[in-house]
């Protein structure tokens, strides 16, 4: 996999910071987030872990405006998402990789990657394809540019999804359980790409159950439980020496497998 970084200058020029304070969210009767404060610095790789229902996916989705917080302030890339008028500014500047890939099945890999470039950034077809191919090369799928998603394995599809997000040159990349829908032997090719991105300095927020990835690649691990941030720290701190009892319980259960 080549680690080509197309526009390093452009990214450092944009502030990559996330700041959430007092975020609450409920779905019907269920209160999923009960007052979350969290910050992410430029270039940081933050991994959210926790049991299902702990609110980590909801938190991630709030950060890219796929869900709206009921209360609290959400600042992403200096855009106040809690201000409904300004929230749409965030789109196109952050990337999201979904558990179910959400690739457009009626378009080729290259088509997927270039759609937004053509329609939103209004690049010429030549420029869009060039950037698209570069992005695909970055995830190691240059030769699959003309394949349709149905013709690709799960790991390849997810990598195309990553390329699609990268092509927009985002300041922050969000990953919502990117490997949970993959067969075990395909997980590595995706986490490998994510690791390369991290090494290149991308700001990333990742929700995952892959503890190995969290341990090896995260700058900070955030353990969520019952709708709040229960504990956070470096991987060594959280995995090696968890302070809270529930953190220990969770890690014990998860690392058993």
């Amino acid at each position: 996999m080549t680690a080509i970084d197309p526009e390093p200058e452009a990214r450092t020029a944009v502030t990559a910071r996330i700041a959430l304070s007092g975020v609450h969210k409920r779905f019907g009767d269920l209160e999923v987030l009960k007052g979350v404060d969290i910050e992410v610095q430029p270039g940081e790789v933050v991994v959210l872990i926790g049991a299902s229902g702990s609110g980590k996916s909801t938190l991630l989705r709030i950060m890219c405006d796929l869900e709206r917080a009921d209360r609290g302030e959400v600042w992403v890339n200096e855009v106040p998402l809690h201000d409904r008028k300004r929230a749409p500014e965030i789109f196109g500047h952050v990337g999201m990789v979904f558990q179910q890939f959400n690739l457009f099945p009626h378009k080729t890999a290259l088509g997927n990657v270039t759609l937004a470039l053509l329609k939103v950034r209004r690049l010429s077809r030549k420029d869009a394809e060039e950037r698209g191919r570069t992005a695909l090369a970055r995830v190691g799928l240059a030769e699959k540019a003309d394949s349709y998603p149905a013709q690709l394995s799960g790991g390849q599809q997810q990598r195309v999804a990553i390329a699609r997000a990268l092509a927009m040159d985002p300041a922050i990349m969000f990953f919502d359980e990117p490997t949970s829908a993959l067969d075990p032997e395909l997980v590595g090719e995706v986490t490998g790409v994510m690791r390369t991105l991290a090494e290149e300095g991308m700001t990333m927020v990742v929700v995952t159950h892959e503890m190995r990835f969290a341990h090896d690649t995260a700058d900070r691990v955030v353990f969520m439980d019952g709708g709040i941030v229960l504990e956070q720290g470096t991987p060594e701190q959280v995995f090696g020496n968890p302070a809270e009892a529930r953190t220990q319980q969770f890690l014990h259960r998860v690392l058993e497998t």
Binding site: C64, G92, F98, N102, F104, V120, A150, M168
Partner: protein, 241 residues
């Protein structure tokens, strides 16, 4: 027996031109139905109740009354409201309005069948609601509904037989007239039946061909609606209730 068939087949030109009329007015009704179906689906999915309610009424009234009644209304009742349609016009309008209601539901289901994650991905890519609909949702919805839509054209061709009741000189009416003259029921209606089978099979074949040319990647479902699949699948029954 064979001489009966040869006798009946003497009128082959009449049958063929009647079949031609059947086919042409079916296409016209289909075009009308497509337009109404698309508009209806958009109206039903709209956020404005002013659009949603009439569309829902349209669908419910049409689907819960017989198409023959709708044809009679178009031909016999509309003149009282000042709208005078020829038999063929009334037939096209009635068939178009009728199938338009079914297509409304088909298009609506096709649009809803596009997974929510598609819209979310498009949203994060900053495509915006209009572009998301045109470039992400609609192409997938069209692929979803293609077999069902082709099926409706087949239904129109078969349903045009009822237009004989409002004196449209289409295939069934022609066969009936010829039959009253030569009394060769098996042969006359047999010829008509064969012509219907030929027309509907040609439509299915053409649709399959178009699908292969137009849809990249290829449509995985079978275009010829010969089977009724359980609920959520894409190849529907020949008739919708």
């Amino acid at each position: 027996m064979l001489s009966d068939w040869t006798y009946a087949l003497q009128d082959w030109r009449t049958y063929l031109s009647a079949a031609e009329l059947t086919f042409n007015l079916s296409l016209a009704a289909f075009a009308l139905a497509l337009a109404l179906g698309l508009l209806g689906a958009l109206a039903r999915g709209s956020s404005h109740a002013v659009l949603r309610a009439p569309a829902a009424c349209y669908v419910e009234v049409i689907r819960n009354t017989p198409v023959l009644l709708q044809m009679f209304v178009a031909f016999f009742a509309l003149p009282s409201a000042g709208v005078h349609l020829s038999p063929v016009q009334a037939g096209v309008v009635a068939l178009g309005v009728n199938v338009g209601a079914y297509l409304t539901e088909i298009f609506r289901a096709g649009i809803q069948a596009v997974p929510r994650g598609q819209r979310e991905a498009a949203r994060v890519l900053a495509l915006g609601p209009a572009r998301t609909f045109v470039h992400v949702v609609l192409p997938q919805a069209l692929r979803n509904v293609y077999p069902a839509v082709v099926n409706q054209l087949v239904q129109i061709i078969l349903g045009s037989s009822l237009l004989s009741a409002i004196s449209v000189p289409e295939l069934t009416g022609t066969a009936t007239v010829i039959n009253s003259q030569n009394l060769l029921t098996v042969e006359d209606f047999g010829i008509a039946a064969v012509l219907y089978l030929v027309m509907t099979n040609l439509v299915s074949l053409a649709a399959a061909l178009i699908a292969r040319l137009a849809f990249k990647p290829p449509l995985r479902t079978r275009v010829r609606p010969r089977t009724l699949n359980p609920l959520r699948r894409l190849v529907p029954a020949r008739r919708e209730a």
